[in-house]
């Protein structure tokens, strides 16, 4: 009985408070109906288009991501291809450089060999000319020595030849000439 009294008192107090605030159960029901109408309206007018827009954007983003992935793949392939081309170009450049070095070295060797050959020919020719000059000089000196020796011999013989030697020379000559003519 006490509890029933308390509940009645509490209910009465609440009713008084609501009445003082101007809140009635009709008002609450009307607010609930308004809330439901607003929620339904918002769902169809705002939530659904926004959801659709978000889905479309997500699809767009996915498409862009896919395109990006494809582009990245393509870039990777291009990069790989360009690296391969670059590597081959480097190899080719290395080969060309190596060949150029070989050709240059060969040319340098040829030039050196040619220069050596020319130098050797020049040295040989010079040596030959020097030998010839030396030989001519020696021959000339020998001739001059012979001339001088014979001149000295002439002087000595002309001065020192004895009558006997002269006689013997004449006899030998006459015998030789007679022998040849008769023989």
């Amino acid at each position: 009985m006490f509890e029933s009294f308390t509940e009645t008192m509490l209910l009465s107090a609440l009713t008084d408070m609501f009445n003082e605030m101007g809140i009635t159960w009709q008002g609450i029901v009307l607010h609930l109906i308004n809330l439901v109408i607003l929620t339904v309206g918002l769902y169809f007018l705002l939530f659904k288009p926004v959801k659709k827009m978000i889905r479309e954007r997500q699809e767009k983003v996915k498409k862009i991501e896919k395109e990006n992935a494809e582009l990245n793949e393509e870039v990777k392939e291009l990069k790989s291809s360009s690296e391969k081309v670059l590597s081959e170009a480097k190899k080719e450049a290395a080969v060309i450089h190596e060949n150029a070095v070989k050709v240059a070295k060969q040319k340098a060797d040829d030039i050196m060999a040619d220069a050596k050959e020319k130098a050797k020919a020049l040295v040989d020719r010079t040596e030959t000319e020097m030998d010839e000059e030396r030989r001519m000089l020696r021959s000339d000196v020998e001739k001059q020595i012979a001339d001088v020796s014979l001149a000295v011999a002439e002087k000595v013989i002309g001065r020192d030849i004895s009558k006997e030697d002269n006689r013997r020379l004449i006899e030998e000559s006459l015998k030789e000439w007679s022998g040849k003519e008769n023989g």
Binding site: L150, I157, G158, I161, R167, I170, S178
Partner: protein, 72 residues
């Protein structure tokens, strides 16, 4: 020219003695020459040179030395 008209020209470096004269006379006679003309020329140094016509017999020391010179 007849052989009797040939003159042997004999060149010596000094006056020859009788033996030389005799040997030369015999030689030129062998060559068919009967006249001899002597010339003293010290320039031949020694020995004898005999010219009979176009033929020259040169046994001089100078010619021998020239031969030696040519060898050098």
């Amino acid at each position: 020219m007849a052989k009797e008209q040939l003159v042997a020209k004999v060149v010596v470096s000094e006056k020859p003695d009788d033996d030389i004269l005799r040997m030369v006379a015999e030689f030129v006679k062998e060559k068919g020459c009967y006249k001899t003309e002597y010339v003293i020329d010290p320039d031949i140094l020694g020995g004898i040179v005999i010219k009979i016509g176009n033929k020259v017999y040169d046994g001089s020391l100078r010619s021998r030395l020239e031969t030696v010179r040519q060898v050098f």
